[in-house]
């Protein structure tokens, strides 16, 4: 996973499989970066993600809440087709902005 900082924006390039096992590890890393940079815009880029179950939804919703606390917003980028199926079940379109999807 790569994390880029660009002014007020934090871009997280997620990759591989996101399940409960991995979500915990990803959460720690992302939250550390959020804590340091306090981004106004958090972009979660799913371009490299090959599998995701509802643990990924928990990961997105958790980060969304975190940013919401201090007025930041969250957007999701490059969501592969099969992930969109899971995201739609969660109604994530209403929470976070979808880009390039």
């Amino acid at each position: 996973m790569r994390i880029d900082v660009d002014g007020d924006q934090l871009i997280v390039y997620l990759e591989g499989e996101i399940d409960h096992h991995r979500a915990g590890l990803l959460r720690e890393e992302i939250d550390e970066a959020i804590d340091i940079h306090r981004p106004l815009l958090l972009t979660l880029d799913f371009g490299g993600v090959t599998f995701m179950d509802s643990s990924g939804i928990g990961l997105v919703m958790g980060r969304w809440r975190l940013l919401n606390e201090y007025g930041g917003i969250c957007e999701l980028d490059h969501i592969p087709p099969h992930l969109r199926k899971v995201m739609r079940l969660a109604g994530l379109e209403k929470l976070a902005n979808f880009r390039n999807s």
């Binding site: 409960h20 979500a23 509802s54 643990s55 899971v86």
Partner: protein, 146 residues
């Protein structure tokens, strides 16, 4: 309906087995020559059920997860995933979208919803203190052979 093949798998409730079990079930289902989307659906549903055994069923201890899968001549894949963990008090409530007893673990309460939408049928049986069994079915489309 003739049973063409079946498999039984038993693993401890370690989170590293989430990936292993979904790949194993997908490899078993490969005999029916499923489409990529069907494989992704099956993997996701299995991942949800196995994660539930680990996160909810056995919570802070390690127990065994029992997986059974079979394919029948009507191209139906049946998957049963069971634990001998804490069980569920109110199954109907547990199956409501967004309902979760583990928000602190960032569970979204969508596990059962995913299983229901990605598979054709979902049946949950559970008894507090005894364990939980999830049975899922999916009929696989006949793919054109090259």
């Amino acid at each position: 309906m003739k049973i063409l093949n079946s498999m039984r798998l038993k693993v401890p409730s370690k989170s590293s087995n989430e990936a292993f079990v979904r790949v194993a079930v997908a490899a078993f289902a490969a005999q029916l020559d499923p489409t990529c989307e069907e494989i992704a659906d099956i993997k996701t549903a299995v991942s949800e059920a196995v994660t539930n055994c680990i996160v909810h069923g056995y919570r802070d201890k390690i127990g065994e997860i029992y997986i059974y899968a079979r394919i029948t001549s009507d191209r139906k894949l049946t998957i049963r995933i069971a634990d001998k963990g804490c069980g569920i008090e109110n199954i109907e409530k547990a199956m409501e979208p967004l309902y979760t007893t583990a928000p602190e673990g960032e569970r979204s309460g969508l596990g059962f919803t995913v299983m229901e939408s990605f598979m054709d049928r979902l049946k949950v049986t559970s008894k507090p203190g005894v364990g939980t069994t999830v049975t899922m079915e999916k009929k696989l489309s006949g793919r054109d052979k090259e």
